[in-house]
Structures are given as C-alpha cells and as structure tokens.
Symmetry: none
Subunit: 224 residues, 2 copies
Amino acid sequence: MTTILVVDDEQDMRKLIELHLQKAGFLVLQAENGDDAIQLVKTSKVDLILLDVMMPKKDGFTVCKELREFTSIPIIFLTALDAKSDLVKGLVLGGDDYVVKPFTAIELTARIDAILRRTGIQINSDRITKGVLVNDIAARQVTSDGKKIVLTLKEYELIHLFMENESKVYSREQLLEKLWGLDYEGGTRTVDTHIKTLRWKLGAMAGKYIETVWGIGYRFEVNQ
Amino acid sequence: MTTILVVDDEQDMRKLIELHLQKAGFLVLQAENGDDAIQLVKTSKVDLILLDVMMPKKDGFTVCKELREFTSIPIIFLTALDAKSDLVKGLVLGGDDYVVKPFTAIELTARIDAILRRTGIQINSDRITKGVLVNDIAARQVTSDGKKIVLTLKEYELIHLFMENESKVYSREQLLEKLWGLDYEGGTRTVDTHIKTLRWKLGAMAGKYIETVWGIGYRFEVNQ
DNA sequence: CATTTCTTTCAAACTTTTTTCACATGTTTT
DNA sequence: AAAACATGTGAAAAAAGTTTGAAAGAAATG
C-alpha cells in the first residue's frame, strides 16, 4: 500500500487532503510541522510527501533540504505562490513537483499518480522497522536513524534475519547453517567478524541492538 | 517479544492491564485515545490491540474501522456492554474478540492467547510461566514481575530446568550431571554458588521460589 | 587479468563466567 | 550444649568465551 505523508500546519487542510487521498486508496500519515515530518520519514514507511511551503516554524523548502540529506522520497510542494514564480521553479528539482492552492482533488491525485509512475520502482516495498533501523526488503537497503547503511551480502542477510526474528537467540552454528548453508566448512569465528563489522556500520545507537548471549551466540533486540 | 497496545481513556485501567500483561510476559504500549493509538500502530511494532469501546473523543468501534483501513492486527474490545448485545455482535468481525468489563487477569490472558494462537503467527514463542517468573525459551530470557533478568549460561540452564520441573528435588550431583555433563570433574559446591547468584538476581519475591532441601539438594516451587 | 571488494583466518588483548576456597551461618545428632 | 555436618557468602583465582585489528585468501568487477 502506498503511504503519503501530508505536512501542513493547518489541520483542516490536512484533514481535507487525507479524505481525498484515502478515497483514492492511499494510506495517509500527517505531520503539522517539518520536524515531525522528518521524524516520521525516519521511522515509518513513506512513499511520497505532500509538503506545504508556507509554515510558521520551518518553511517547506528548508524541510525539503533537510529531508534530501538522507532520503530521495519524491516531494510535491503545496503552494499559494504563482506557479510561474522563480522561487518555486528554482527550488523544485529532481523528481519533485508542485501544486498551487487552491487545487481540486483530481488535480492532486493526477500529480501524485504522475510522480509515482515516474519514480516507478521502489514504491511498494515492504519494510521492517525496529527502533531507528528500517529495512527496505525489496531494495535490500537498511537505514539507521535515516542514514543509509552500505552493507555487504552477508551483513545484510545477518541483519535481515535478526530483524525478522527479534529477541530470538541464534548460535554461531545456527547462523552459519541458515545463512552460509549446511555445507559450510569454515570456522565459527567468521560470524564474530561479521557481527563486529555490522555493529560498527549500524552506528552507536543501532549497533547496540545486536546483543551477545554469552556462551551461546547473538540476539537482536531493540532496547525498550 | 509480543507487543500489546492498550487503548483506554482511564489511566488506572491501562495501568492495571499493563501490570497483568507484563506478568504474563508481554511488552505493553499504551494510548489514551484512538488517534494516538492509530499513530502508534503506524510507527511501532504492535502484535495485538486491546481497545476500549467507550471513550470520549472517538469510540472504539470507530477507531477499529479506521485501523482496519490499513492493518489487520487482531483487536480485542474491552466493553461494559452485555456480551449478547447486538452492537457488539455486529461489530466484532473477522479474527477479533471482546472481553466484558470487569474481567479477571486470567480471562484476559486466555483471550489473548487464544487469538494469538488463532492468528497463528510465530508471535507465540514458547514460554513457561511460574508465579511472577516468565521464561521465554527462544530468547533465553527470563523476566521477574515484568523486569528482565540478565542471566549467565549456567544460571539460565538452572532456572530453565527448575521451571520445567516444578517441585522436583535435584541433588547437586544430579544438577551437575544434567547441566555440566557426565565428565565434570569439579566439586559440588559450585552448584551452591550458582544458586546463590540466581536467588539474588531473581529478586526478593522470585528468589524464594528456589528452596533448599536439607541434606538432599534444591527444589523450585512457587507456592507459599 | 589486474583491481577492487568481500570473506575468512588468526592470535593477542580483553571481558565475562565459572570455580575454588575459607570462613560464617545454620541444622541435626549425640 | 557441644560436636558434627550441611549450606550461605564474598572474594579471588582460573577458565572460557568474545572482541578486535591485521592480513591472507576468494570472489566479483571492469
């Protein structure tokens, strides 16, 4: 299901858009300011963002800039400014677009459909979220607190198994059997080395999610 | 670990349910109204929802309807209405269930277990519950009164054996043979030291479950 | 086929757990 | 009540398991 995040300081506007989008079959999340929006994008599955330009605390363009530091989710600006304004033109880059207020429901969904078609691929991917970690399964891409983590094959398979089976303890032998296959001949210390690298790559926070179970193996758990 | 979201406008009721569920080994999230609940479900891992029907802002049925637009997480309604009421009957659909207030802790956990079994997911990793102690076997994790107890290998194996065999008396020699193996060479007083640490870690209440049987060995028993 | 990236091995440093031991405390027997 | 025996406890030694950095070996890439 496609998730759209609506960012606008006016509740009525958010509610109105939500109504339209839900009728059009989208899942809708809301945020009333830029910071909440950024937090939501980091912790939830969001496929597209509708971003109001004129907001009191932080304007839409600034929010966009901050979002672009860690994600390439398509953004559609909602603006009362003239569509031909240089300001809008200048800032609407990449796969993004804009809609001028007031707009009709048809106009809005048309833009959304266009942009989703254009960006096409990665939209309908399932995700597993555990704490600050998000695992985009189709993309085989993990982010920690919004930051992309570049993982090798074995590292990804490890974190994926862990995220699918939170709390469960795996011995080194079990991990080797599950991820390397029954015919693996090497030593069990290989697992340790991958765990080491994984913890380092996941960063100070998420690295701690991988716990050592002394004398047994490892367990993935988000501290509650 | 299985996460249950409790949605109720009364804090006391939420607290009470939380207490019971933690004792039963669940992880508990709370929301005091429907919108917060929906937000939580969207952003956190929730395996089951306990949803109060009578709430001031938005009643439970409406919340359920909204939840059902994007998730199929099982819902158990908490209601003061008569179980035979058409309203309840009509609205409790699919895999859902209801519990009539006031309800006992046993009634509640029975419904939860039933629904988790019914929906079948691997949520229910096996557990042994004895008094305030819950042993999550797959996670090799014991909680005492809802609090995590960090145990070493031998300590866990000891408490696990005891919880699987309540009331049975084990001599030090038997424990050494079962947990250390037939080839163990050391002295039997090692067991005493582990029992000491275990009692201490389990806390004032659960520590007393491990009884000394004079001249014989030890026994695990919840009674008294 | 040279280069880069990923995986595995290894051993020393380090951390945690397990065991031992000596004495304190408690229970039973004489 | 004293002696004999069994368990409780804290500290320290011994053992076991883990982390880590470096480097060799494999595999993928262009």
